[in-house]
């Protein structure tokens, strides 16, 4: 078990810089998720920690040891790959025991550790099978088992759930979370799925173009996004954005000029800034009884989800979504008045996208 420390790390491929000057501290026992869109550098960063990619400049520490030039084999970390990367010619037992065998672990101990991991992951019946005789979910467990038996300093997961169907993904997600609590080992998990990030992480690293946009708890990135990118990336459906400006008497939409009922604190910030981008999550709209209390919209599309209903509408020249109580039974073409809930509004700098606080 160990902390991971990344200092001024740069990764270049030829003239192309994938990660420019990144700093990150992952505490011992912490479950950190790297999340971001495709090409943001999250998998590259994970592979750098694993020792599968060299560092262009900067330092990487695992525990107290600087591991820049240390081979993957000597880093004592375990990794679960997106395609599981099991050894096709070895039985499940041998896949799991291979790393221990390489380290010269006594046979009796190998056996005990493999069986303990197999029991933990419910894969005991498959120990004598080859990977090709297993389903995707079973292979995924074997890949985790192969990592667990080693009792490494840190576990690295590279999008390990992306090849599973939705139901299995949810199940394995919960299992990994439970496992992390049981094993109490540092875990770094890469995903492009913000739900995985939110549900599993102690802290989330939101990455874009190789730079950390925000490093915070799941609640932090959801409730206090550092910028418009994070605000739009975390949350499903995504946050709505409306350009707004201060008219002298109150907030109005830049396009159309309709009044926007802001809470006092947000209004104060907008007054100071003059203009900004207002961010409101779909679940943070309230339905107002009186048209004068909010923004009147026409419903274009209704998506009933059972527990709640999504309504789609156009506002300030762009599409927007609100999550409402299904008891309202909204219908396409209905006119409805929405108002942002006080304390749930976000203002971003119109030029740079940074949050205005």
């Amino acid at each position: 078990m160990a902390s991971i420390s990344i200092r001024n790390l740069t990764k270049r491929y030829g003239n192309f810089t994938v990660i420019p000057d990144l700093n990150l501290e992952i505490a011992d026992h912490e479950f950190v998720v790297f999340v971001g869109p495709s090409g943001c550098g999250k998998s590259t960063l994970l592979r750098i920690i694993a020792g599968l990619e060299p560092i262009s400049s900067g330092d990487l520490y695992i525990g107290d040891k600087r591991v820049n030039g240390v081979q993957a084999a000597q880093r004592d970390i375990a990794m679960v790959f997106q395609d599981y990367a099991l050894y096709p010619h070895m039985k499940v037992y041998d896949n799991m025991s291979f790393a221990l065998e390489l380290r010269g672990t006594p046979k009796a101990e190998i056996d005990a550790r493999v069986k303990r991991a197999a029991a933990l992951l419910h894969i005991e019946p498959y120990l004598d099978r080859k990977p090709k005789e297993l389903s995707g979910g079973q292979r995924q467990r074997v890949a985790m088992g192969r990592a667990i038996v080693r009792n490494p300093k840190a576990f690295l997961f590279d999008e390990p759930l992306s090849n599973l169907d939705a139901k299995l993904r949810g199940q394995v997600r919960a299992e990994i979370k439970a496992l992390s609590q049981e094993l109490q080992t540092t875990m770094v998990f890469v995903t492009h799925d913000q739900i995985e990030a939110m549900t599993m992480a102690d802290r989330i690293v939101v990455l874009q173009s190789g730079t950390i946009q925000q490093y915070d708890t799941p609640e932090g990135v959801y409730e206090r996004p550092a910028n418009q990118f994070v605000a739009g990336f975390i949350g499903s459906p995504a946050m709505n954005f409306f350009p707004v400006e201060w008219s002298g008497e109150g907030a109005i939409l830049s396009q159309g000029g309709a009044a926007v009922p802001l809470d006092g604190e947000t209004a104060g910030r907008l007054r100071q800034a003059g203009s900004a981008v207002l961010g409101i999550r779909p679940e943070h709209f309230a339905v107002a009884a009186d048209a004068a209390d909010g923004m009147a919209v026409h419903i274009k599309l209704v998506e009933p989800l059972g527990s709640d209903t999504l309504i789609h509408f156009d506002l300030a020249g762009g599409p927007a979504i609100a999550r409402v109580d299904p008891a309202l039974r909204p219908k396409v073409g209905d006119r409805i008045t929405l108002r942002p809930q006080p304390g749930k509004m976000h203002l971003f700098d119109a030029a740079g996208g940074q949050v205005l606080r």
């Binding site: 020792g51 084999a73 970390i77 990794m79 790959f81 395609d83 096709p88 380290r103």
Partner: protein, 275 residues
């Protein structure tokens, strides 16, 4: 019958016809060679060739009587097995290294060496081996035949190594494997059928290779195929004995290929790993 079914039937017929024609074209010289080896010497060169004749073993008898056939066969075996082993010993790690580093020029270089005419090597080799006193040695023959076997091993194995998902090697790295151990414990078992195919092909090509043995061997180390050349004289050629020798020379590769036919085709057409 519908048009589509008719077309299908025609395509099947044409396919069969093509296969028969190609088979005839490929097999005709072999059949001619085998038949001739059983013909009395006066009938071997008869024109038009006779298809019905009383088979005789006189050509085989002459072959074993006039030449130390078995010792030539042993020479061929030593040179072929030696050069195949040498080809595998260096070709397997070379193919793995090319696949691992994705630097392909060394493989292309070996291919160029294979494609170059053998005579290109002969003079420098002859001079070199003579200077170090190795002309006529098994070592000289095995080393020279490695030029045949090495590119075969590399080029048969390269797609097999390439077909192994990179992440499998990376998993082994993270598990604690050195590159050598990855080759030995992970990559080689996964391309076992490719290794077998490359070994068989290397064996066949080395067994059949004529030129190097003709120049670099001596009376004691002459290989079968170079020895068979003795039946072609300046004045007359002993066609019957030559055909008998050719038939016996062709036997090991044919038997080998027939035994592993299924494996050979699958090994040549794909890499070794799937799910």
């Amino acid at each position: 019958m519908s048009d589509a079914a008719n077309t299908d039937r025609w395509i099947r017929w044409l396919n069969t016809l093509q296969l028969v024609l190609a088979g005839l074209l490929i097999m005709a010289p072999t059949v001619w060679m085998v038949l001739s080896s059983f013909k009395p010497s006066f009938e071997v060169t008869a024109y038009p060739p006779t298809l019905i004749f009383s088979p005789t073993l006189e050509n085989y008898d002459e072959l074993t009587r006039t030449t130390p056939f078995l010792s030539y066969a042993l020479n061929s075996l030593i040179v072929t097995v030696g050069s195949t082993a040498l080809g595998l010993l260096f070709g397997i790690p070379a193919a793995f290294a090319v696949s691992w580093t994705r630097i392909s020029w060394p493989a292309i270089l070996t291919l160029a060496a294979r494609m170059a005419p053998g005579t290109l090597f002969l003079l420098p080799w002859y001079v070199m081996f003579r200077q170090i006193g190795m002309i006529g040695s098994y070592t000289a023959l095995i080393l020279s035949h490695a030029v045949i076997t090495l590119p075969i091993v590399i080029w048969v194995l390269l797609p097999s190594f390439d077909a192994i998902p990179r992440s499998v090697f990376e998993a082994a790295q993270v598990d604690g494997c050195s590159v050598t151990r990855i080759l030995w414990r992970i990559a080689m078992p996964l391309v076992a059928s490719g290794i077998a195919v490359s070994a068989i092909l290397a064996f066949v090509f080395s067994w059949n290779y004529f030129l190097f043995a003709l120049v670099l061997s001596n009376g004691d180390t002459k290989t079968l195929i170079a020895a068979a050349f003795n039946f072609i004289g300046e004045g007359s050629t002993q066609w019957g004995a030559l055909m008998a020798a050719a038939t016996l020379i062709a036997l090991p590769p044919l038997v080998l290929a027939a035994l592993v036919q299924r494996w050979l085709v699958s090994g040549l057409t794909l890499g070794a790993v799937k799910g």
